[in-house]
Amino acid sequence: MAIENIKTSKGWADQDHVPGLKSELLELNMGPQHPATHGVLRLVLLTDGEVVYKVTPVMGYLHRCAEKIAEGVNYKQWVVYTDRFDYLSPMTCNHAYVTALEKVMQQEVPERAEHIRIVVSELSRMASHLIALATFGLDMGAWTPLLYCFREREVILDLLERISGGRMLYNYMVPGGVRYDVPKDNWASDVIDFITMIENKKLKDYNELLSFNKIFIGRLANVAVIDPQTAIDYGCTGPVLRGSGVKFDCRKDDPYSLYHKFDFEIPVGMGEKGTVGDCWDRYMVRVREIEQSCRIIRQALESLPDGPYQAIELKKIVKAPAGAAYSRVESAKGELGHYIIADGGQTAFRNKVRSPSFCNLQVMEKVGVGLMISDLVALIGSLDIVLGEIDR
């Protein structure tokens, strides 16, 4: 609704019941430095009391124009920039880029490398979802789950440090494989131990502490409902789309890597506590995805084949033949796509990144209208955005 219409609408004028006292819409800046915006995001709110009339996201505070940098550095050098997009699950960002690049290069990848990629991607996805649960609880006023989730995330970071050498930003995948092989010091069995612990104990803890907490449910059920048509129309993907009841996951519906080999389910929102597509559904999809990630990791590690883990020698500079392709993977936040145009040289001619948070955030312009400000915080938390990916 345009601002002018709001100002002259009847409901608006009716509130001036005290003679001589006029009220008007209040423009409110939420962010860029705000604990509930999950990064340097600024929301320009137009509010009437506690109710949001209009919400305009303003972003770009982290903009580095990584797509321009991609045109200046060679293919392998740019892997490191993909880490910085979604810095909470950099492995899936690595995976998205190398998958797209290998599609343009028509490069085969050894089976062992694909298995390792899947294991680290799923670990990264779990780490990202744990942060999502933790910060979402924090937004809703629950402190304790934050400490629990960060404790488990710490284990994942340690495991990924052992395989890649980095704790947060890994630069682990290279075109044609991965940078290092699985460490010999029981890494695989440590991962299995960890996911067994998550499956058997930790998920129950989270559910008791947070998911089925009465206050938490009361705060989220029936809040900021995104219906399936809106979700698809606005290009929402990942847990946001699945929370609305659409059973779509790139890992199943547009299989890449070796995901078609593994047995797992796609959790969708079912409206257990309220309406399909409310904040609680989006939250619960993430909890259930952690469980499915555990299943995938277990299968991938138990069937880890022997053989090479790199198809191209690490020192070699890669070239891609002229051509263009769009390729997408399911990152922790949704569909992460790369449109790469190659001209036969060492550098991409154009590398467009379609980031899931960018598209998921846009739906807020529609769904955020009419919410209370405190419910808007719930909406932001349930969208689980990362600003490094939106601004690129």
């Binding site: 972003m59 770009g60 903009h63 124009c65 797509e67 321009k68 045109e71 200046g72 599609k103 343009v104 028509q106 698809i232 129309d233 606005y234 290009g235 659409v246 779509f248 519906d253 547009d254 070239k319 033949p321 002229a322 051509g323 263009a324 392709a325 769009y326 997408r328 569909e335 796509g337 449109y339 145009i341 001209d343 036969g344 040289g345 060492q346 550098t347 001619f349 154009r350 467009k352 379609r354 960018f358 598209c359 846009q362 529609k366 601004d391 690129r392």
Partner: protein, 217 residues
Amino acid sequence: MDQKEIYQLMAEKLGTAALGFSDEGVEACADVAPERIAEACLFLRDDERLAFNQLMCLSGIDWDGYDENGKGKSVKILGYAEDGQPETSDHVSEGDFGVVYSLYSHSKLHKFTVRVRVSRDKAAVPSVAQVWSTADWHEREAWDLLGISFEGHPNLRRILLEEHWVGHPLRKDYQMPDSWDNVPLNGQPYGNNPFPTPEVTPDPTLDQPAGDDPVEG
């Protein structure tokens, strides 16, 4: 549905505006006349046999200096020279702009890619924000970074850069600025303070600094 069949359905509807189809590369794609792209997209979305209800990606491209032979000899982009000054070039940009629409259908589970090309001096494409809402921000991004204008867009403003930024960075002839808002960007060492303290010359008309008198009483 097969890519070729999708193109034929679209070509029946569009007639001469469907410019061609290529499936030689990694990914098949169709070329459409830019002035009828919004109509083509509406058809692709609404036709029951196609039902492309999701726009996966909308990419703007500056085709200037693209090496057609595939030898990797495209025009070099301009950065900063070693002395920290922005690089300049005599190259006059003349290539077209392009927009690529990557589509997906949730019900039919097929993909399709549509491309348009517009000339550099008339870089305007009809907007498809009315067809898919997600195109709104994608088109704003293409406007922001490449300067492709989208006719009929409800709110064509910069999205990632500041409102008063000059130029469009993803253009191949974009020259890096040497300063922005009086902050030098020309690769000065970080140790140098970009805001040096101005030298203050004491005013001889003032005997002593004011405000330090002891309060009496």
